[in-house]
């Protein structure tokens, strides 16, 4: 089992998402992250799907996805030749001045932005590789995370 990132170019029709996700459901594969958005071509969307699967499962699913009429292209993004990003928004407790200063320093060193602040919490925003976000979240847990949102992975292949 490995984490796999698949990028799909699809027609932007109602039902495409169900059709696509059905391919994974049929095989009992869990989708751990999914992003859908318009792309450079009008009428088409790009989906980035992250799954846990073996090499052979991935191969079968990739071919079956290609068979879907509304799927125009399927790319299996290998980690080394793709740029992978995730966006994280979180609300962190900052009960006292020390905690607040510490959180702000750590945020700075991770390149996270302070999106909003209140007296006893900060909203942090970090767009980065998913693993770095994981590490940042681990750190912030020490202070107490009130709420956490991640958009899920989006990825682009290098030339």
């Amino acid at each position: 089992m490995q984490t796999r990132v698949i990028s799909l170019l699809v027609e932007d029709n109602p039902g495409v998402l169900t059709r696509m996700s059905g391919m994974f459901t049929m095989r009992g594969i869990n989708i751990s992250s999914l992003t859908v958005s318009p792309c450079e071509k009008p009428g088409l969307s790009r989906m980035t799907v992250t799954i846990e699967a073996s090499e052979s499962e991935l191969e079968k699913v990739r071919k079956q996805l290609s068979n879907l009429i509304e799927v125009i292209k399927v790319v299996d993004l290998k980690e080394h030749d793709a740029i992978i990003r995730d966006l994280c928004l979180m609300k962190v407790h900052t009960k006292n001045v020390e905690a607040r200063t510490e959180v702000m320093q750590l945020a700075e060193s991770y390149g996270a932005k302070i999106a909003d602040a209140s007296l006893d919490s900060l909203i942090l925003e970090l767009a980065d590789e998913p693993e770095r976000i994981d590490r940042f979240i681990e750190l912030m847990k020490h202070f107490g995370i009130k709420q956490l949102f991640r958009t899920g992975i989006t990825a682009i292949a290098r030339d």
Binding site: M26, K60, K63, N67, I69, I72
Partner: protein, 571 residues
Amino acid sequence: MAGKKLSGAEIVVEELKKEGVEVAFGIPGGALLDFYEALQQAEEIRHILMRHEQCAAHAADGYARVSGRTGVCIATSGPGATNLITGLTNANMDSSPVVALTGQVPTSAIGSNAFQEASTFTITMPITKHNFLVTRAEDLPRVIHNAFYIANTGRKGVVLVDLPKDVQASKVEVELHPEETFPGYKPNINPNKVQTKKAAEALANAERPLILAGGGVISAGATEELRTLAETLGAGVVTTLMGKGAIPESHPLCLGMAGMHGRIYANRALNECDALLALGTRFSDRLTGWQLDQFAPDATLIQVDVDAAEINKNIPVDIPIVGDVKLALSDILKWLKKESIREGSVWLQRVKEMHSACEECIKDIHRPGSSVSDILIKELNNILDDDTIITTEVGQCQMFAAHYYMTKKPRTFISSGGLGTMGFGFPAAIGAKVAAPDKQVVDIAGDGSFLMTCHDLATCVENDIPVVVCIFDNRYLGMVRQWQELFFDKRYSHTNLGITPDFIKLGEAFGCYAERVEKPEDLKSALKNAFESGKPAVLDMIVGKEDKVLPMIPPGGGITGMIGTERCRRV
């Protein structure tokens, strides 16, 4: 034809005509009133009113398998559409080209649990090759054109078009007969030359080449190429259930159907070959058995399939070829011309010997150990002509037919392979007879299966579709009973069908010709009477209650582990 205002229903009918649709099987309903109004005005299209939507789908499927043309079935919204499901799943699993048109509640009511609303679009997504929910009449020309294009190209399958009531009724001005297709649909037709060359070399260098012909050979119209290649190579040919008819089973190189209920030498050959060319088959477990180490263990495996997703799916392949079987075979044959083919090999002798052993067993009608069921099918080989179309239900009846019936021509053995649907054979026979009115059509039926769809005898009688249903009357869900006998110590849990109905009275109630066949010797005259009656016919053939389809691969076994082989001739 731009400039003229047409209703959505009229547009659909115009596009059906343009696609050359000559017949459709269906049942109307509230959500299809506009469509049926337009359909009635199209003289080019014959509509056959069925008695159940499942039968409409099976009939369209049977029509498609016999003619190679896309079958069309029609059902109203809600229950009409849900009744279609079994038939559509069946057709799609066997890659049969069918277009289904369904009525739907008005777009404004979709999602409101309106009367007779079912979400046909989402329900049919996993059981179709593609489906459409049309929300604007303007989209209809492109949708209908593509429905037919997608259904009958690449790996064939089912396309469903859901037509909301208001879309059928609304009048719009559109350009008819578009040619435009979808950017994401480009079937892989042309095989890679490097791969076909490799395949040709592997086959030419093999000592014991074997060809495994699946339904893809028939679907691609590649039966001539298959035969030429087998003869050129001196290769044996075995088939799957779906591939029955890809080569005449009387051909000295043909060893018949392989697999769980296959012929013993077909399985032997699969075990012994050193190169295996698999054509248009998906290596289902009914073919391979469960001990994959017995399946072609020494063979270089070459797989040709038009669907890339089938390659390497169930069995690892050495030389994959994605493309149309006919084109791939022509390419392989071209490459082979340059190679020298050995003649009179030991393997060729062995294949011929195995073929004659099988053929002898089948010709030897009263061979010791034969059951009445065996004998009836063996008799059919002598009674029916080569053009007769056989359809089958599912169960022992089906496997007796697959095992003993000698299919001579492609598209004359029609059976439910992937889904194994009881009740398929009879409505499929209706579609077959409509596609080929000049041919005799015989459904080899189980008593259990036939009762699932027998109401459509009314359709046959009303529309003058004289098919002959030959019921294997064992008053059991025989195949399940056989498994209970062999593997559950004869504990017959809920497989006894009792004593009803009287199939003669049933047939007669519908206005059919009906006759009981008490002994296999009477089959010939009964069939003669049935055909001569010119009516749909029901023959109630009394078989041994505990007849078994043997030999077989027991559950968990492999292709060399068949049981019940005592009756086979050894070579």
